[in-house]
Symmetry: C2
Subunit: 245 residues, 2 copies
């Protein structure tokens, strides 16, 4: 028996998120089935975390145990043969038997992609959220720094959050312009349920003038979900990177 | 009667290119039909040029004549109501009656997006071509400058090119890295049939070591299609910008 770590990239558009659910097409379901087809084993596939319906991943780590004789570095190729076009495994490697894709995470980076337009932009719409204009980029950018550091983010998570503590450390956050779209990048030791989407929604509302920039510190301190912005829609969110100890 | 210029953005994945063809889903066909639904008129919609099946556009200009009483600046909204999600009109304006979306073009910019990987990358695959590794970015980048200026590009067009002359002026060309992908940007006074895709294919083969960088000047001078690279696949190509006199 060996433990294998894989890195998965997927376009989440057509999936009901990561976690296996009855009657739903999920990423965990598709990859687990592809592993069964490739290796002949029903494995317990554990990822770095769950993603919601419609959310994407550039590099989501996951692990499983197997008795296969296929070379560890080639397992991803065998799995890919059974995966649809919108889910692929980028690599596979043997890891220590106590490695855990979720519990050993020390840092995650998400990006939130969006564009401000009164018209849908078909070329970028699959992986970006459309927001209404006007949107003031400089004002939105100016509030990012308030999120940095250790805060109780209980006001920035949705009902259903199941973590023991709501204190998280945001190490880096930045907003940049890339062609027609804006990209918010957030790096932290971990995130609460919907936390990145609520941070994105809040920063977007600052840019739209719905939330005042100078109110941000007190909104974070208030721990009041009602004072933060709306949860930004899932299509703009992508898990970019996960680091382990 | 007034002449209206519109700017169209589309994801070309599901279309047999721009031009109306029997039994095919085309961008010209969809937009012409949407104009008919919105304005009640069958118009002759002329774009800046034809795009092949699978090619995208960020901003493709087109014009048509209409007797509609809808305010020119609002016509695009009426049309969008009848367009599918992967084609949208970004703006509409009245132009002089002798404006022509194709004949008045003075400059076009295309981008070619690609990534080098042995695995499909689902997050970027819809609008980027996958090429095989290894790919040496610096070497590929180094040959871009050879294309600049006025050349006879007859060796860089496909059979079926219908232009009077095969001499074209490339004003700007550059290759940059954006995250996981490479973006080749080419600006010129016009392009022959498949010219950007053949230039992209050639630069890609230089990066892959299939064509030697130092051979590029003689390949261009030879006017021999067989010495240039393969025509890169359509999904990576996007019409970015068109300028008029």
């Amino acid at each position: 028996m060996k433990r294998i770590k894989i890195i998965i990239q997927f376009l989440g558009t057509n999936y009901s998120g990561w976690q296996i659910q009855p009657e739903q097409k999920t990423v965990q379901g598709e990859v687990t089935e592809a592993i069964f087809q490739a290796l002949g084993e029903r494995v317990d596939l554990q990822s770095s975390g769950r993603t919601d319906a419609g959310v994407h991943a550039l590099a989501m780590p996951a692990h499983f145990d197997t008795n296969t004789k296929i070379n560890s570095g080639n397992i991803y190729k065998a799995i890919n043969a059974y995966l649809p076009e919108d889910i692929k495994v980028l690599s596979s490697e043997e890891v220590k038997e106590d490695f855990h894709a979720r519990f050993d995470v020390v840092e995650k980076t998400y990006e939130y992609h969006f564009y401000a337009s009164n018209v849908r932009l078909p070329y970028i719409d699959m992986t970006s959220a459309r927001i209404s204009t006007p949107f003031d980029y400089e004002t939105a950018k100016s509030v990012c720094e308030y999120f940095i550091g250790i805060h109780d983010f209980v006001g920035f998570c949705s009902a259903g959050n199941q973590t023991a503590t709501t204190i998280r450390n945001i190490r880096k956050i930045g907003l940049k312009k890339e062609g027609e779209k804006y990209v918010l990048s957030v790096t932290g030791d971990g995130f609460l349920y919907n936390m990145v989407r609520i941070i994105a929604g809040t920063i977007i509302e600052v840019g739209q003038g719905k939330i005042k920039a100078q109110d941000l510190p007190s909104i974070i301190e208030s721990k009041d979900r009602a004072r933060a912005g709306k949860t930004a829609e899932p299509r703009g969110l992508v898990l970019k990177n996960v680091k382990y100890k």
